[in-house]
């Protein structure tokens, strides 16, 4: 009897493991994803690079100007989950992504899967990049290949044991990875749609400005979209950027666009903390793109306390 029970338990365990393994398998590019990739225009990719803010995490901390294009990684993100160390994404063929194909790059950006078929941790904001167009991904890849290679081996993240089991990220993706736009009810206005794409896709604003579900370990809480919350790194809070009294309610769209361009609030306080690097990326966008972001931020639902 006991032997039978043990055998049944073992069988169940194996079955559960098999289901887990099947559910959490890292994805490959889908047919439709691959079909949307294009030739890749490096010059057009520079705008995507600034919109995506690659240099804010993959260049040296507080890098300014062209130093932001040296993408050797090594930037330590000290979060409650552990320390994530950003990898080298410069076009160095030994230590960076110089040897990657466009398919491999696209699979990383959209599906969060490495060329070796492993899940990336969602500290790499593919949960936003999943909304990027194939054209932008292709242009960005072409642009990254034109930058200066940096020879610097990537380091492992410093995480507690349960989080080292990266296969579990497959479950996280099942629950939280979704290519659909967040704000579906903003109409068909072209400026708003462009703003939505920039904020929800490459700009990945929600990754910090939206609180997370599941005690901070889940996905972005879409019911409190861009409502602010605890800072993912270190002390302090990330501000609410919805049109609420506690957020940007008193700012005009022009104020928001001007802040993104100059780094100064309507009261002439300056941008601070990790937003400095982001703002300096936004300053490189076209005036129209900054205006589109501002229009979107004024159009989304206000989030209160």
């Amino acid at each position: 009897m006991i032997r039978k029970l043990l055998a049944a338990a073992l069988l169940l365990g194996v079955a559960a493991l098999a289901v887990f393994w099947w559910l959490t398998a890292p994805a490959a590019l889908s047919e439709s994803q691959r079909a949307s990739l294009t030739e890749g225009d490096a010059a057009a990719g520079e705008a995507v690079f600034w919109a995506g803010g690659c240099g804010s995490c993959h260049a040296e901390k507080s890098a300014k100007g062209d130093a932001k294009k040296l993408l050797g990684g090594g930037h330590r993100l000290d979060t409650p989950a552990g320390v994530f160390v950003t990898p080298n994404i410069s076009p160095d063929s030994e230590t960076g992504i110089g040897g990657w194909t466009l398919d491999q790059f696209a699979n990383a950006m959209w599906n969060g899967v490495s060329p070796a078929g492993r899940h990336y941790y969602p500290s790499f904001p593919y949960a936003s990049y999943v909304r990027m167009t194939g054209e932008d991904i292709s242009n960005l890849f072409a642009y990254l290949q034109t930058l200066e290679p940096v020879s610097r081996a990537s380091e492992p993240h410093e995480l507690p044991l349960p989080l080292k089991l990266h296969r579990g990220i497959g479950l996280w993706k099942l629950a939280f990875l979704d290519a659909a736009p967040v704000m579906t009810g903003i109409g068909e206005d072209e400026t708003l749609l462009r703003g939505r794409y920039l904020v929800e896709g490459p700009g990945h604003c929600g990754e910090c400005h939206t609180p997370r579900t599941a005690f901070g370990f889940g996905g972005m809480d879409k019911s409190r979209w861009l409502g602010g919350g605890a800072a993912p790194e270190g002390d302090g809070k990330i501000p609410n950027i919805t049109p609420h009294d506690k957020g940007l309610g008193s700012w005009s769209a022009g104020d928001i666009a001007s802040y993104l361009e100059t780094g100064f609030t309507p009261e002439f306080d300056s941008v601070g903390g990790s937003m400095v690097s982001v703002q300096e990326n936004m300053a490189r966008l076209t005036k129209e793109d900054r205006a589109a972001i501002a229009a979107y931020l004024k159009a989304i639902p206000p989030v209160g306390d």
């Binding site: 302090g236 780094g263 002439f268 306080d269 601070g272 400095v276």
Partner: protein, 173 residues
């Protein structure tokens, strides 16, 4: 001379229509600067007082107001005025001259301070950042900007100092 030259007389009579608007703008600048200097005075009054958090907040507010006055002129929202530009720069410079004295040990604990712990971990770096802001505003005072265009690069360097110091040494609350 006026009696013999009606054209000039007329110009003089017609003139007030334009200056009225100009006076309004002047008033706006003047009130901004008054606020700025009040903030500076508040800083001076509380220098060495027992509330360093309030003191440094007043100082930063004064810098912000001065920055607003300069940016308004640079953007052409208010007319350029060399004396007022200089006064704004001097206000900033004055705040930076004493600013470093208001961060004693333990003053990171206030309920509403946004001073980052990094200030006390890297006091040397923090003081160097303040010193740079002081030197750059001193250089701008020395250069005595004579046009709105001349304010552009000054705002670039001064504004860059605001951002880099707030990047490293301030937390958002």
């Amino acid at each position: 001379m006026g009696r013999n030259c009606p054209a000039i007389e007329q110009t003089r009579l017609a003139a007030p229509a334009v200056p009225r608007e100009y006076d309004m703008k002047k008033l706006v600048i003047a009130s901004i600067l008054t606020a700025t200097l009040t903030a500076g005075a508040a800083l001076a009054a509380s220098h060495g007082g027992d509330d360093p958090i309030a003191t440094r907040k007043n100082g930063m507010q004064g810098v912000g107001l001065a920055m607003g006055a300069l940016a308004g002129m640079a953007k052409g929202e208010v007319p350029f005025n060399d004396k007022q530009a200089l006064a704004a720069l001097k206000t900033m410079n004055y705040v930076f001259t004493t600013f470093g004295a208001h961060f004693p040990e333990g003053s990171d604990m206030g309920a509403n301070t946004t001073a980052a712990p990094k200030i006390w971990e890297d006091m040397e770096g923090f003081m160097a950042a303040i010193d740079k802001a002081k030197m750059d505003t001193a250089a701008a005072i020395e250069a005595a900007p004579a046009s709105a265009e001349a304010l552009g690069p000054i705002l670039g360097s001064v504004g860059g100092n605001c951002k880099s110091c707030h990047e490293a040494f301030r937390v958002s609350n």
